[in-house]
């Protein structure tokens, strides 16, 4: 037990070392000091190397050029020095967060894609799974997974974000929150599937149909009402993610993908689509996923995710030394392309256009970087993004003023990181 605890600490420190956050001296001193204490208190301790890679680990050679390496393997595993982890709660109703601080680029490894389930992850045999399309259609259809894969297919890169992402950072920001805690309910994948309009054409959707019910095959038979116009725009029924079949946590064997719309509406384990003329008013579009407002109303069917960004490095619990650092993170908008990300390194007094890495795809995470030389002074790092509609990510104060501190979903407020004079980096949510 004691040994395992030490391994956890060592692997955490090793992980930080690989990312260049700790000096070798700090690593050798162990992670029990101030930095290590913060690490252990503020972030979930990742699975130890032994848990991730099995107990029979060969020793690390002093010089890897003097011994033969490992043979080939059926399925690759991460380096034992790299142990990113989600934050499982152990409940079937709940979530686990993507470790945004451990990612680069914009594609989330499928096994680190955040989870939000309402009745656990169902175990579905794809050969027995079917998608039924019925209601206001001329030809009700029952399609097997294999049949769905025979339609013309497309591949698209899109983010998925839970409507509740950022709630804690909105209501009660704390200095020891990591990017994972602040905004880990978003992830991005390359998705492959069939445009929903192709399936609707196959079923012969009747002209009067304006809404459809999308229903999953999990233990709560999760269901959402979606406007048919979204199907005719860019909705997909996907079966693959990052080059392989969907992960069970992401809806294997089929999920609805509604680019730019709140995660809950992207129904996983999709089993049924019913066409109709009005919304069904399921629990997930009435009791949940509605936005109470200060004027005593609640916004309903607030599907679109407004523009948002977060700096993922530097972030708590990193410790900086003076010199050049990349200030990097991700930005996205459910309304189209990100056109601009600005970074402030002086608490918002001045702003710099960050470099957008690679193409800014519509309704997709884009990575931004601003190179910055820390001079040892206390400061706050901030990011804000603008999308192609001209929408600028608001401050927390602006959003609280508009929606109230108790509103329940769609938290796209600006956030940042407070850098102390001794180089510690703490979450700054009070923008």
């Amino acid at each position: 037990m004691k040994r395992e605890g030490r391994r956890d600490r060592q692997s955490t420190a090793a992980r930080a070392f690989v990312r260049g956050e700790l000096t070798r001296r700090e690593l050798l001193a162990g992670a029990a000091g101030a930095v290590g204490g913060a690490l252990l208190a503020g972030v979930p301790v990742p699975a130890s190397a032994a848990q991730v890679h099995g107990a029979d680990l060969p020793p690390v050679p002093a010089d890897p050029t003097k011994v033969q390496g490992a043979p080939t393997s059926a399925v690759g595993a991460r380096s034992r020095f790299v142990t990113p982890a989600r934050t499982p709660t152990g409940e079937v109703t709940g979530n686990s967060l993507t470790p945004l601080q451990d990612l680069t680029g914009t594609i989330t490894p499928a096994d680190l894609h955040f989870e939000r389930h309402h009745a656990g992850v169902p175990l579905i045999d794809p050969t027995r799974h079917a998608l039924t399309i019925h209601g206001l259609v001329r030809r009700p259809l029952r399609l097997s997974v294999e049949e769905i894969r025979r339609f013309p297919q497309v591949t698209r890169i899109h983010f998925v974000e839970c409507a509740g992402n950022g709630r804690q950072a909105y209501r009660d920001p704390k200095p020891d929150m990591t990017p994972q805690h602040v905004a880990g309910l978003t992830a991005q994948s390359e998705w492959t599937g069939v445009p929903l309009k192709v399936l609707f054409a196959e079923a012969g959707v009747k002209p009067g149909a304006t809404w459809f019910l999308a229903e999953g095959g999990d233990a709560c038979v999760m269901a959402r009402s979606i406007p048919v116009s979204k199907a005719m725009d860019d909705a997909l029924v996907v079966w693959a993610q990052n080059g392989e079949p969907l992960r069970p946590e992401q809806g294997f064997p089929l999920r609805l993908l509604l680019p730019g719309w709140e995660g809950n509406a992207n129904v996983k384990w999709l089993r049924r689509l019913e066409l109709g003329t009005e919304p069904w008013m399921t629990r997930w579009e009435t009791s949940k996923y509605t936005d109470p407002l200060p004027n005593g109303t609640a916004r309903q069917f607030s599907f679109v995710l407004d523009a948002k960004s977060i700096i993922t490095f530097p972030a708590f619990p990193n410790v900086l030394t003076r010199g050049w650092w990349p200030v990097t993170g991700i930005a996205w908008s459910g309304r189209g392309r990100v056109t601009r990300v600005e970074v402030s390194v002086d608490a918002g007094r001045s702003w710099h256009d960050a470099q957008l890495q690679g193409p800014a795809l519509p309704k997709a995470h884009v990575r931004f970087t601003h190179h910055w030389r820390w001079d040892g002074a206390e400061t706050v790092l901030l990011s804000r993004t603008t999308d192609e509609t001209g929408y600028v990510q608001p401050t927390r104060a602006a959003l609280v003023g508009m929606r109230g501190i108790g509103t329940d979903f769609h938290f796209n407020q600006m956030s940042g990181w407070h850098v102390t004079r001794d180089g510690r980096v703490l979450f700054h949510g009070d923008t």
Partner: protein, 193 residues
């Protein structure tokens, strides 16, 4: 092109996706994949119930029957008074004055219940039938779901304690805060809403 597609509906869609070989007698734009589900196959999965009564089955139940069911099937997670067990099992019942008036945006501590928040009574039936009880989802009969719906509405002071519910009565139940729900008015652009 997109506007045209929406305006013309199915016909334009068919033309758009119509590069499939159509030697067989398919409707243009279709691929001949899948088959018509049988009535039994549809019935097995078609479990939704909507505010206009669509999908509500025959059957009925009383609030008293529902109270007994609640004790055996629901109270273990939701509490004997329906007060819930945070964070996993939500509160169902409660009309305390502090939480009345739909002030949820101003105070995150206010607890939402069926009575002080939910806009449609049919949602209770739809959800209980598809998802409850936690230990045996989808195991309740339609009569039992009507009874539990009646109990939850009565305990939330929406219908009388002695009420019986069936499909005709359920669609007529008006929830206290039904009119507070409004469409999304966010449209992008420079205005934050």
């Amino acid at each position: 092109m997109r506007l045209t597609l929406i305006a013309l509906g199915g016909a334009a869609l068919a033309a758009c996706s119509g590069n499939n070989p159509s030697a067989n007698a398919l409707e243009p734009g279709t691929y001949g994949l899948g088959r018509a589900p049988t009535a039994a196959e549809v019935a097995e999965v078609d479990i939704d119930a909507a505010p206009n009564g669509h999908g509500l089955p025959s059957g009925s139940g009383t609030a008293a029957q529902g109270a007994a069911l609640f004790r055996t099937q629901c109270a273990g997670c939701h509490g004997d008074k329906g007060q819930g067990m945070a964070p996993v099992f939500p509160a169902l019942i409660g009309r305390d004055t502090a939480s009345e008036g739909f002030r949820f945006a101003s105070d995150p501590k206010l607890v939402k219940t069926i009575g002080n928040y939910w806009p449609y009574a049919t949602t209770i039936f739809d959800y209980v039938r598809r998802a409850m009880p936690h230990t045996a989802p989808g195991s309740l009969t339609n009569d039992q779901v009507y009874a539990l719906t009646a109990y939850l509405l009565a305990a939330n002071q929406v219908i009388p304690d002695g009420a019986t519910l069936d499909s005709a009565r359920l669609v007529r139940v008006q929830m206290p805060y039904h009119d507070r729900f409004v469409p999304d008015d966010r449209r992008g652009g420079p205005t934050v809403r």
